[in-house]
């Protein structure tokens, strides 16, 4: 198991009981290698966040097992999870989630403190990490004085502070313009390639596909093959071929999210076929 930084086996998560029971993630298995970048995509409500929470030891699965660095996290008690998160994971959020009362340096320092690194050594490590991310001139700034890209870089420095094996990123580029988003992607790839950390990204951002070693599609709580997917030519939504409404046109099969789209298509097919190859917005 040494080649894998993170392993999930037959992981399910159910919420509620009886008639209100909802299965957010069902029977998912996943192995992430050291230094690998995995991108998890999928529509809203597909269970992406639930899966990420379970992988990151923030939520325990209803069934199945998860190992990180060879240690099983899914069987640990609630009170032991913070330690696992602190030592093995780095988190990057869409909203950056910096602590507004602390300076840039202190934002990194505080997670080092939490892990038991204190005083001078915490300070030095925080400074080194931030300088490495070109934030050496911003050490004593308050988060409110930073641009979005700078904030996300602080968040990345914070995620790396305790030398984690796995970095979990939740929509890391969603609140950034495309240029800055690309900068963040470059950094994530560097983290994987040069530092050998596994990076798991949950995102709607198609551009991240370019840096990912693997792209997984999660829908209805399960991984589905990307090849079984098609785009609705009317609304541009990504749909599962097996479940979708379909219509033949000029010898090709078109898949739709719902009857409405199919009817619209059939009324004026030529309007949609020209652009059907390009996926619409998410």
């Amino acid at each position: 198991m040494s080649a894998h930084a993170l392993v999930a086996e037959n992981v399910s998560r159910r919420f509620g009981v009886g008639r209100t029971e909802v299965t957010a993630v069902r029977d998912v298995s996943l192995k992430v290698d050291k230094g690998e970048i995995v991108l998890i995509m999928g529509p809203s409500g597909s269970g992406k966040t639930t899966l990420l929470l379970m992988l990151g030891a923030l939520l325990r699965p209803s069934s199945g097992s998860i190992w990180v660095d060879g240690a099983e996290t899914s069987s640990l008690k609630e009170q032991d999870l913070p330690e696992i998160r602190l030592k093995h994971f780095g988190f990057i959020f869409q909203d950056f989630n910096l602590l507004s009362a602390l300076s840039v340096r202190e934002n990194v320092e505080v997670v080092l403190n939490l892990a038991g690194v204190k005083g001078r050594s915490a300070r030095d490590r925080a400074e080194a990490l931030l300088t490495d991310l070109d934030l050496g001139g911003r050490l004593d700034f308050q988060p409110s004085q930073l641009s979005g890209g700078e904030k996300q870089r602080v968040a990345i420095a914070r995620a790396l502070a305790n030398d984690p094996a796995v970095v979990l990123a939740d929509e890391p580029t969603a609140n950034l313009d495309s240029h800055i988003g690309q900068e963040v992607m470059r950094l994530l790839r560097k983290i994987a390639r040069e530092q050998g950390r596994s990076v798991i990204i949950v995102s709607h951002d198609e551009r991240i596909k370019d840096i990912a070693d693997r792209v997984l599609w999660l829908e209805d709580g399960m991984f589905k093959s990307m090849s079984e997917r098609a785009f609705d030519p009317v609304c541009g939504m990504s749909v599962n071929q097996a479940d979708a409404v379909s219509a033949e046109y000029e010898g090709a099969t078109n898949y739709f999210c719902a009857r409405g789209c199919r009817d619209e298509f059939l009324a004026e097919p030529e309007r949609f076929t020209r652009s059907s190859a390009t996926p619409g917005p998410d």
């Binding site: 990420l52 929470l53 330690e83 998160r85 602190l86 602590l99 202190e106 939490l114 005083g119």
Partner: protein, 369 residues
């Protein structure tokens, strides 16, 4: 070590200021009332403390001076003099009566003393002299100023006119001032030729006052002999017993208001940061680490508030000293300790509500929008 608690508190200066003010004023309620009571205790025992007498003798059953009347036959003075170890006995007469000038009147303790013996009279004469001829009075300087009179002017008391011979300091209290006249003037005006109110006893050097008081008590019938310390304590207890229940109510209210102020501060401060606490939890901070954070905020708020309260109390005391010398505010280490202990309890209690909130906080919420 980064102190997230302190950074959080100091981030919003206005809130910090307002909440520190809230805590400070709440605790000031306790300190101010304590101060007034302690100050009036000092005032009402001032005479007893400053006469120089070792032992006081009063009518049997009378153990106080304030709000009391004591009457002893003068023969008791001779009996006390005969007791072993007694060096001197000085009778005084005492009553409460208004002192009048043309501009108004002021209620005063009238004390008749033997000015030639220098015992039982004013202890701090700031102007003129305490060497009285018949028809002369030493009056409190502040009261005299309020009545628009000075040395050489006339005031009337006990139904007759007196000339001010001297002005004394430290003889002005919340209820009254003090006027000193000759013992024989007092006795004649009140028609009390053979009576004294209290006897002021000096003991021979080396005699323990407690031993001396016990000896006098044993030898002389129908009197009450107390050391100066005992007499002061008895006098203080009048005020303490009288104000005990008020103190309970006011201290209780001050404590609860202080608690509310800190609780509100910590609660709002926690709530404002609840998202960030969720982030910290997600990053791996344990609940107990966050509890400490909340508690530290409470403790820092209380400390700032209590410090401000003590400073305000001293300021108030100084202002009162200038504007209303008759209402002294005396801040004692005891009442500061009381406020400190109360503040500690407040910090613990006020952290309870936000601690529950933080404890139940689900770190997963950080990812859900």
């Amino acid at each position: 070590m980064v102190s997230v608690a302190r950074r959080n508190l100091f981030q919003d200066k206005v809130r910090l200021l307002v909440s520190t003010g809230g805590v400070a004023f709440a605790l000031l309620l306790i300190l101010a009332l304590d101060g007034v009571v302690e100050g009036s205790l000092t005032q009402i025992t001032a005479y007893i403390t400053n006469t120089g007498a070792d032992v006081y003798v009063a009518q049997s059953g009378v153990r106080t001076m304030h709000m009391s009347a004591s009457a002893l036959p003068l023969t008791a003075a001779d009996e006390v003099s005969a007791v072993d170890g007694v060096e001197s006995v000085t009778p005084i007469l005492y009553t409460t009566n208004p002192v009048e000038s043309e501009e108004g009147r002021s209620l005063a303790y009238i004390i008749g003393f033997h000015s030639e013996l220098g015992i039982g009279g004013p202890w701090d004469v700031v102007e003129g002299s305490a060497d009285l001829s018949p028809g002369e009075v030493v009056f409190d300087a502040t009261a005299a100023r309020r009545l628009g009179v000075g040395v050489g002017d006339q005031v009337s008391l006990l139904g007759r006119s007196f000339v001010i011979r001297g002005l004394s300091s430290g003889t002005f209290t919340i209820t009254n001032s003090v006027a000193f006249i000759r013992f024989d003037d007092f006795a004649r005006l009140r028609d009390l030729p053979r009576t004294a109110s209290y006897l002021l006893v000096s003991l021979e050097p080396g005699i323990d006052p407690a031993v001396g008081a016990r000896a006098i008590q044993a030898r002389v019938p129908e009197i009450e002999a107390m050391t100066r310390g005992e007499f002061e304590a008895e006098e203080g207890r009048v005020v303490r017993d009288m104000t005990a229940q008020i103190m309970v109510v006011m201290n209780g209210a001050g404590f609860v208001i202080g608690l509310i102020a800190v609780a509100l501060t910590i609660y709002t401060a926690t709530l404002a940061k609840i998202g960030e606490y969720g982030v910290l939890k997600a990053l791996g901070a344990r609940s107990d680490w966050l509890y400490r954070l909340v508690f530290e905020q409470a403790l820092v708020s209380v400390t700032l508030g209590a410090g401000t309260a003590v400073a305000l109390a001293y300021a108030l005391s100084a202002i009162f000293g200038l504007v209303l010398p008759e209402v002294p505010l005396r801040i004692t280490p005891t009442s500061i300790a009381k406020v400190a202990i109360g503040g500690g309890v407040i910090a613990v209690l006020s952290a309870a509500l936000p601690v529950r909130k933080v404890g139940r906080l689900d770190p997963a919420t950080v990812f859900r929008r």
